[in-house]
């Protein structure tokens, strides 16, 4: 035995400590959210403040939304974010604003998102609105928002040796005979134009769509390929294929799929940080 012992390492040294106060959040199936938090007894009007985390340098448009906090039956304060209030796509940090000091960042309490699981929008609206509250890695409450018109919701992904078959739902734009899908090579901003888009046949009816990407066609094209639908052809609206209609804010680590070796490359689908569906083609070592 050595005389010096290693210092004790409590198991949980690295956990995140949530900061008070906490907000409980309940989602409804239409995309609305209700926030409940403890009434701190401060005088004056109180608001729930949603602040869009800026990613784009131009940062134009509405980047704050203020919802009145009103007394609820159980001595708590309640704010409602109906699906009709439009939120730009992105991450909206949640604060309590009592007007007397700097707004206080809220920590997540109980997020009851059961009505978002396996969500089936009616399809009668031209757009879909998705808001999923989640705990950030620092233990704060943030709402992830998407707004898509039209929207192509990915369902099951079927992978075999030859390629990837995607089945899903098309919302906000009917499929016409002119419709097709497209793989677009992603190029870092400022780079010279990358490879030309690759056309993929698109089938389906009654709001459903299906397509198959043959992996052999990508064997010569290492890189990232984003999957788009053009349900009414080149002149019509475009829909990025994504998986948005459930309770999982970040699909990437959870919805993962195997890559398949095809000639000199390995090809596999994955969800991006924005829950969009892309294919990664890497040169196999």
């Amino acid at each position: 035995m050595t005389a010096l012992l290693p210092p004790p390492l409590p198991d949980e040294v690295h956990d995140r400590v949530p900061v008070e106060p906490r907000a409980d959040c309940v989602a409804d199936s239409a995309g609305g959210l209700t926030f409940d938090l403890a009434d701190l007894g401060r005088p004056g009007a109180a608001y729930l403040l949603l602040r869009l985390r800026e990613r784009q340098p131009h940062g134009a448009g509405h980047t704050e939304t203020r919802l009145p906090l009103t007394p609820a039956a159980d001595g708590r304060l309640r704010a409602v974010l109906p699906s009709s209030v439009q939120l730009a796509e992105g991450r909206w940090d949640v604060y309590a604003d009592h007007g007397d000091a700097a707004p206080r960042r809220l920590a997540p309490g109980v997020n009851d998102l059961r009505s978002l699981v396996d969500r089936m929008p009616s399809g009668t609206r031209p757009h879909i609105a998705v808001r999923i509250p989640y705990a950030t890695k620092h233990g704060n409450l943030t709402v992830r928002a998407w707004h898509r018109a039209p929207h192509a919701e990915a369902g099951e992904l079927l992978i075999d040796g030859a390629g990837l078959t995607v089945r899903g739902r098309l919302l906000g734009a009917p499929l016409t005979p002119a419709g097709y899908a497209e793989l677009r090579a992603r190029t870092p901003e400022g780079d010279s134009p990358g490879q030309a888009a690759r056309r993929v046949e698109l089938g389906g009816s009654g709001g459903e769509f299906g397509l198959t990407v043959g992996y052999a066609e990508l064997a010569d094209a290492p890189g990232i390929w984003d999957l788009w639908l053009l349900p009414q052809g080149a002149q019509g609206p475009q829909a990025r294929v994504a998986r948005l209609l459930d309770d999982v804010a970040d699909k990437k680590p959870i919805f993962t799929y195997p890559a398949v070796r095809t000639g000199p490359v390995a090809v596999g689908p994955y969800y991006t940080r924005d829950n969009d569906l892309s294919l990664r083609v890497t040169e196999a070592g």
Binding site: E12, D24, D112
Partner: protein, 422 residues
């Protein structure tokens, strides 16, 4: 009553910590309750603490704060009072020895409750005359090494009571540890009512939650779900939790082509809203020291399909009434249990309703009542007054002597065995 819990670290996250607060918060409605934490590594506890519960620490290891004691020379010297064979021995030292001993020599409490073997040993040996000495075992006797069992056997007879989380484990302590005069009672872990409405049973999801560790046998659950999918491709499985098995389980999901049906969700806090999204819970462990997730799921209205492993599931689930027990390690049986509930909506609904009712016995109020009556009984057994105190100390002395004798014999045995193998 003044009740004082002694815990390794009341500022962390873990089953014992959560259980201790659930119990302390409830006992505080009637009693004077404190939680004494050997360590403090952060400013505030993570779990919700009733304002009536006092929480304090003995050794401060918050780096960069004025109270930081991790540089003390005593902190670097090995512990003597804390048993060497205990799993956390390397985290204890001369400083914890001294602080814990000082605390126990002066504690004002009527009841001292230890929450792990090493701290139970401190209480058994060092508590001043007077308070009841109660040791809690959150793990099971058969999970302790032979060396630890030998050490505990020499000391535990000085306790007034020892609690286990299951009847099976209580029986093991009674029969294998020879604890004369020590009351050994099973005390289930308290599980509060969830903060969300119960599941409505319509979601076609099976939910499991726990560390991704080999003992949980999630590999069996995934293989069983392959059989479920063959019959009911509309149902899917979510497994919450993190751990070292993640890559292995991920590979198994991909190998079986279950990536549209089985999802590794990562850790979730709190877990109740995740249970509420499912309609059936699954536990496929080879061993459960209690089976906390079974109770949690039931409190959210989920019937649980669980392996009938030692020690907890069979004591929690009323087989066929509020859940289904299946043989350990049997993929086909696990799939059969899940399909039985998936294919019969009425049965699932009945079991769900029964699970809600039956799991109320784990409510903190009910468990706290059981602790209260234990403490009251023990106090009555050795009441204040010269005779009572004399009897109390006599039983302790006798127990310690007997335990000591067994320990000597055990040590002899170990030495003999070592001699043979050498």
């Amino acid at each position: 009553m003044h009740i004082s819990f002694l815990i390794h670290n009341a500022y962390g996250i873990g089953g014992t910590i959560r259980t201790t607060y659930n119990l302390a918060n409830t006992l505080a409605e009637q009693h004077d309750v404190e939680v004494v934490s050997v360590y403090r590594h952060r400013a505030e506890p993570v779990f919700q603490v009733d304002p009536r519960v006092r929480v304090r620490h003995l050794v401060d290891i918050r780096k960069g704060t004025p109270g930081y004691e991790g540089d003390s020379p005593e902190y670097r010297r090995p512990a003597h009072a804390f048993p060497r064979a205990e799993g956390r021995f390397h985290q204890y030292n001369a400083l914890t020895d001294r602080r814990i001993a000082d605390h126990l020599a002066t504690a004002e409490a009527d009841v001292l409750v230890g929450t792990r073997p090493g701290l139970n040993v401190h209480i058994a040996r060092q508590a001043r005359r007077g308070p009841l000495r109660v040791g809690q075992e959150h793990l099971t006797l058969d999970s302790h090494s032979t060396a630890l069992r030998t050490q505990l056997r020499g000391v535990y007879p000085r306790l007034d009571a020892l609690t286990t989380t299951t009847e099976a484990d209580a029986a093991a302590y009674r029969s294998k540890m020879r604890l004369p005069g020590v009351r050994v009672d099973a005390m289930a872990n308290p599980v509060p009512a969830p903060g969300v409405a119960p599941a409505d049973g319509t979601g076609k999801w099976v939910v499991a939650a726990g560390r991704l560790a080999p003992v949980k046998r999630y590999d069996l659950l995934i293989r069983a779900f392959d059989q479920v999918r063959a019959q009911r491709p509309d149902w899917r499985l979510r497994i919450y939790g993190g751990g070292k098995q993640k890559d292995r389980l991920r590979a198994l999901i991909d190998e079986l082509g279950l990536y549209n049906h089985v999802f590794l969700m990562g850790p979730a806090h709190p877990i109740d809203p995740e249970w509420a999204k499912g309609s059936i819970a699954a536990v496929t462990s080879s061993l459960e020291s209690f089976g906390m997730t079974i109770v949690e799921a039931m409190r959210c209205g989920l019937p649980v399909v669980a392996t009938d492993c030692p020690h907890g599931p069979g004591e929690i689930i009323d087989n066929g009434v509020d859940g289904r027990l299946v043989p350990v390690g049997d993929v086909r049986a696990i799939a059969g249990g899940l399909l039985e509930l998936i294919n019969d909506d009425d049965k699932r609904g009945r079991m769900s309703a029964a699970a809600l009712v039956d799991s109320q016995r784990f409510d903190p109020a009910r468990i706290a009542e059981r602790y209260e009556s234990l403490f009251t009984d023990l106090t009555a057994r050795g009441p204040a007054g010269p005779l009572g105190r004399f009897r109390g100390s006599l039983h302790r002395t006798r127990g310690a002597m007997l335990g000591g004798a067994y320990a000597v014999r055990d040590a002899g045995r170990t030495a003999l065995r070592k001699g043979r193998t050498a």
